[in-house]
């Protein structure tokens, strides 16, 4: 059964992925030196839990978050911490990181449980805690800690699990390859997550352009067909965006500023599910992931499994090295990926694809000349959030904050569909990001101003009170002085 494409519109894009997804996933040999970024891509900077000189093993905790929005980070090789580097902003090097020298022995951390984890024996809340300690995070690109998402869903009694295997963005095919090669793990991960959520059902959603993955998962899910089902969704970008997928599969909209949990759904990537299964089978925390290395700028595009911290240059070498003139090294796909400044940074949990783009891949974008908006409405036709991007652009340009908010600048999911079709070649997604940043800064400034005003008012009041108190003291003193001296005062005597 193919679910109808329920969100407003989206784009049908050239996928660029079929041949690569069919090839086996190549294991990349661990490098001599690994670099673990303290920001694994979720925007939260972790606190190092090790010091320079410490000996670490596979699965040793090397960094922890200070709140629930980061995931615990573990060493993916055994060896010694040789440096904890701070951020070099001038070099745009990807932020602070822990550098580990690999001793090549792959010693597991002795504190880790040996062998499979009997997740059915754990009570769900404990299971969530264990997933948190295992460092499981969203491998679809967000890097958000899975345990936090599960805890939120549990608090809101969201009993439906949705495994996102849509993988809608062009060039990316790591999930496709994983679903074909490790379908059993995806299903096992689904079971573990269902246990953690006390979920009633699990739907695995896959776009209709991945028949091999659909077949593999249908076969793997056969034994649990009563609770785990595979749903086919149309291959439309951005089908894999969380909200849009929830709508496509369940026919309900996630409320604005709400979460899928508000409509009883928890969404996890299929790669995250497979990572949960790996942990459940071995007890080893999350230390590797599958990455698509692709683009016209690499010799032999392929999917690799690599340890976190592996320098991106090593991944490119695994794909046969650079080819031609690579212009951009993009972490993610060509619609939403982040262009990195250097390939020296280490692999993080949120990098699902390394897209090495040459002029060939970027031609139209590089040749773009921005002209004024002609309000043609192409952007509104494709916006999957049902927005009028032309109106957000107009209001943001005029610095009309209320207008931009009313037209939905916060409802924008940053998919870039509007950019793609704009004949005026306006970088709309970027403008909306800037507008949101401007609005945030405006709110911060307003908050600062409010604090300053309160502080000023309190100070004024204190000063007034001090003056008043002084006056009172003076009055009392004068009264007393007068009272005491009155009889002898020559003035009153006259």
């Amino acid at each position: 059964m193919t679910t109808r494409n329920e969100f407003p519109s989206g784009l049908v894009l050239d996928a660029h992925k079929q041949p690569v997804a069919a090839e086996p996933i190549l294991d990349v040999a661990p490098p001599a030196r690994l670099r673990f970024a303290l920001d694994q891509g979720s925007g939260v900077v972790l606190e190092p839990a090790v010091a320079v000189g410490d000996v670490v093993a596979i699965g040793s905790v090397i960094a922890r978050p200070s709140d629930d929005f980061g995931a615990v980070l573990h060493a993916s090789a055994s060896g010694r911490v040789i440096a904890i580097e701070s951020h070099d902003a001038t070099n745009d090097d990807g932020g602070p990181c822990i550098v580990v020298e690999n001793d090549g022995r792959d010693t597991p951390d002795p504190a880790l449980p040996r062998g499979p984890i009997d997740y059915t024996a754990l009570d769900p809340a404990t299971l969530v805690d264990r997933l948190r300690e295992a460092g499981i995070a969203g491998l679809g690109g967000a890097g958000f800690p899975t345990a936090t998402k599960l805890a939120t869903a549990r608090a809101r009694s969201a009993r439906r699990l949705l495994l996102n295997g849509a993988e809608c963005e062009p060039w990316i095919c790591c999930d496709d390859a994983l679903m074909r090669a490790e379908a059993d793990d995806v299903v096992l991960g689904g079971r573990v997550l269902m246990r953690a959520l006390e979920a009633e059902s699990c739907v695995i959603a896959i776009e209709d352009d991945k028949p091999a993955a659909i077949d593999a998962l249908r076969a793997a899910a056969q034994s649990a067909a009563d609770t785990i089902t595979v749903e086919i969704v149309p291959a439309v970008y951005p089908q894999g965006a969380e909200r849009q997928l929830v709508t496509a599969v369940f026919g309900v909209e996630v409320p604005a500023r709400g979460l899928p949990a508000d409509v009883g759904v928890t969404c996890q990537n299929v790669a995250t599910a497979a990572a949960v299964a790996r942990w459940a089978r071995s007890g080893v925390p999350l230390v590797t992931r599958v990455v698509t290395v692709t683009g016209s700028g690499v010799s032999r595009p392929l999917n690799v499994r690599a340890r976190f911290g592996t320098p991106l240059a090593t991944l490119v070498e695994a794909a046969g090295g650079y080819r031609g003139e690579p212009l951009r090294l993009i972490a993610g796909g060509n619609m939403t990926g982040r262009a990195l400044a250097t390939d020296e940074v280490g692999l993080t949990k949120s990098i699902n694809t390394l897209f090495v783009a040459t002029h060939q891949d970027l031609a139209a974008r590089l040749a773009a000349v921005e002209v004024a908006c002609i309000r043609c409405g192409n952007c509104a036709d494709v916006c999957p959030a049902g927005l009028l991007p032309q109106e957000i652009h107009r209001t943001a340009l005029a610095r009309d904050a209320d207008g931009a908010v009313r037209f939905g600048v916060w409802d924008c999911i940053d998919c870039g569909c509007c950019d793609y079709v704009c004949p005026s070649q306006i970088p709309l997604a970027l403008r909306f990001r800037e507008a949101r940043e401007w609005l945030r800064e405006r709110d911060r400034a307003a908050a600062r101003a409010a604090v300053a005003r309160t502080r000023h008012e309190r100070r004024e009041r204190r000063l007034q009170e001090a003056v008043a108190a002084e006056q009172r003291a003076f009055d009392v003193a004068r009264q007393q002085a007068r009272g005491e001296s009155a009889p002898t005062d020559p003035g009153t005597a006259t």
Binding site: G258, A313, A339, V371, I374, A385, G386, R406
Partner: protein, 346 residues
Amino acid sequence: MRFDTSPAPHVIAGYSVPRVMFQVLLALVPVAVVQVVVLGPGLLLQVAVASVTALVCEALALRWRQRPSLPTLRDGSVLVTAVLLASSVTPLLPWWLTVLGTAFAVLLGKHAFGGLGQNPFNPAMVGYAILLVSFPAEMTRWPVPFGVDDSHGWGELARLTLTSFYGGAVDPAWDGYTGATALDSIRNGLEQRYTMAELLARGEVVGTLGARGFEWINFAALAGGLYLMARGIVRWQIPAAVLAGLLLPALVAHALDPGAYLGPLTHAFAGATMLGAFFIATDPVSAATSDRGRLWYGAGIGLLVWVIRTWGGYPDGFAFAVLLMNVAVPLLDRYTVPRIYGRARD
């Protein structure tokens, strides 16, 4: 290695404003061909004069506004304005009026408001309206379409066009070759207490489908418009709403009193109906921007066209209908914002 860190998305379809404008010009070719056949070669002269004037005015305006001129001149938008204006006026218009109208369209209609994308009014219709109210005689003198009677051939049409174009006095002997358009003469006839049946029976005004000669121009515009729709440049909402707004009242009125009101078919294929519905009302800059807003916008134009054609004092109502609805656009845009995903309808 070091890489460029430009923001996402890293790929775009490569649509461009010049390409959109070029498609619009391409879709106008059939209109031009048919008009030249039916009304003589005047259109070609009008297009040439309007285009040159428009480019010169745009270059001057950009200079005054201290804006880079090449990218804007190349985007083709000013040529679309020029060609639409040239296609709307009578092919007999003296050249200096074409220059004047185009200059008003570009300078007042477009650049006074900030150039491409900023103009609240359809620039071509600004130029047209100014000409119509200032030079009603010249603007309403149309050639009698080729083939309506046997008195003149295409050669006479061409000679008449050239004489009139250069502003020369038209030979009184040619009086029979010029006149009001079908819509105009029907209205005048009704005012003179002729019955609709008498007017239609004259034969020279209403042809096979619509107004004699103009019906074919309208067919060509319809074909061009459907092409633009197929290319995704024009969405169906505005043309459909314009036609519905014009033809539904015409149908009802005609059914109630066929002696006083023209039928919908005549309206559909007379005057500027198809050109207006597909090419003029659809200017995205000055139109409502949401799908629902475009329906209201188009319906308003269609209704106003019918009202002006039926009771107004002008030969056709498109220019004023479009300009009036341009004024209503901010209001329409305010109340037709589509529901945003995940939000309740407010």
